[in-house]
Symmetry: C2
Subunit: 230 residues, 2 copies
C-alpha cells in the first residue's frame, strides 16, 4: 500500500521503518526537503538529524507535505499536535480528499512547563482529531495509537505478549476497519483494539497523555501500555 | 480508625459499607442532616434515597459536614467535584487541620453535554486535588482511587484477580503510606498501587475520566480498570 507520513520525527521514522519492512511503499512529507536533508542538528529530544536516519533508510521516499499526501492512499499524521493543522493545510485538502488519515498526534502544550499540558483550544470540549476532521471534512479521520510510545505502536508484542489495549475512533466504519487491518500487520490482536465510536472520542484518548506522562515520569519507563481489565 | 466521609452519594455509601465491615468507625457528613433523612427522592442517577440505604446501615453515623470532619482522623472527599471546595469549606479548615484527606472526587462538568467534560478551572493546568491542597494548606491531601467505579475502589479483587492499577499522589509521604495501608485493607496489593509523586499529578489521574467515560460508553460495563503492562 502507498502510505504517506506527514512529519519526520522519531514517531514518523518508527512508522516508516516498520511499514517498509512490511513491504509498504512509504513517502515522508516535510516542509522543506532540501533543508531537512541538509540539517545536521539534533532534534529537540537529542535524537540524530533526520539525514542520518534517512541515509540508512533510503527506501523511504521524501517529499513536501503536499507531494507525500498526493502519493499516499493512507495518510499518517505524526506532526507535533500544535502544528498538525498547519502541516495538513500545506499538504492540501485536495490531496487528502476521500482518503483515510490516521491521526497519531497529541495536542501537547509545552508553553506552561513540564510535563506538558494539553492545548486549551484542542482539549476537553474539543480534540485534535475532531479539529482535523472539521477542517478536512472530505477526509476520513481515524484517531489511533496516540496513547503509547511509538515503539509499541508498531510492535505491541514487545511487552506483555502483546496483550494490552489500543483505542481507535472515527466517523467512518470502513476506514476504521482498514486501520485495524494495518494495526493487525503491526501485531495488534483484534480483541485488543477497542473502538470508542465517533471522532469526538479523541477527547478521551488524547486526555490519556497527562496521566501517561506522569506514569513515565514516576517509572522512568516509556515502554508501557494500559490494558483494560474487566 | 475514625473515618469521615464527606458526601452521601453512591460512592460515599460504598465506602461507608466497606469501612464499617472492616471494623472502622464511620461518620458521613451532609449539608443538612434532617433534610437528608427526610428526603424520599431518588438521586440524579435513579438510586434510592439515602434514608433507605441508611436504614440498612444504621451503624454509620450521620452528621453535618463539620461534625463529620471533626469526628474523623481521616477524611474522605466523595462529593461531586464541582461542589467539593464548598462542601469542605462547610466542613471547616479547623476540623481538617493536620489530618489526611483522601480526595476521590472528579471535577466533572455536566453543563456541556454527555459524557461530561472536566471543569476548565480545575483541569489541564490545575486539578481538584491541587485546589483542595491550596485551599486547605494544613491538611495532607492524597488523591487516590478516582480512576475507577466505586465498587472496584473498595473491592479490587472483583476483577482480574485484583491485578490492575490504582494511582496515588500527594505531597506527604507518610500520609500516602497510611492511605496505601487503608487500600491494602480493601484488597489492593502493594505492587498495584503506583505513586505518581506530588499532588500536581492529580492533573493526570483526573484526566483519566474522559477516556474512562468513553470506554464505559463503548463497552457498557463500568466494572473495569486499567492495568499498566510493561
Amino acid at each position: 500500500m502507498k502510505i504517506a507520513i506527514i512529519g519526520t520525527g522519531t514517531v514518523g521514522q518508527t512508522f516508516a521503518s516498520k511499514l517498509t519492512s512490511l513491504g509498504h511503499d512509504v513517502m515522508m512529507g516535510t516542509r522543506n526537503v532540501s533543508e531537512k536533508l541538509a540539517s545536521t542538528a539534533k532534534d529537540g529530544y537529542g535524537n540524530p538529524p533526520f539525514s542520518e536516519w534517512h541515509g540508512a533508510n533510503k527506501i523511504v521516499k521524501l517529499g513536501t507535505f503536499a507531494e507525500a499526501a498526493a502519493f499516499g492512499d493512507i495518510i499518517l499524521n505524526v506532526t507535533q499536535g500544535g502544528n498538525s493543522i498547519n502541516a495538513l493545510k500545506l499538504a492540501e485538502a485536495k490531496n487528502l480528499k476521500g482518503k483515510i488519515l490516521i491521526d497519531v498526534a497529541n495536542p501537547l502544550d509545552f508553553s506552561k512547563g513540564m510535563p506538558p499540558s494539553l492545548l486549551p483550544e484542542l482539549s476537553n470540549t474539543n480534540s485534535l482529531g475532531e479539529e482535523i476532521q472539521k477542517t478536512f471534512s472530505d477526509t476520513k479521520v481515524v484517531k489511533a495509537l496516540n496513547t503509547m510510545w511509538c515503539g509499541l505502536m508498531v510492535n505491541p508484542n514487545m511487552i506483555g505478549g502483546g496483550d494490552h489495549t489500543a483505542f481507535i475512533c472515527g466517523e467512518d466504519a470502513d476506514a476504521k476497519k482498514k486501520v485495524k487491518s494495518l494495526m493487525n500487520e503491526f501485531g495488534w490482536k483484534e480483541n485488543n483494539i477497542l473502538d470508542l465510536g465517533g471522532i469526538s472520542s479523541a477527547r478521551g484518548t488524547e486526555s490519556v497523555l497527562p496521566v501517561w506522562l506522569r506514569i513515565w515520569g514516576a517509572t522512568q519507563n516509556g515502554a508501557f501500555n494500559f490494558k483494560i481489565v474487566s
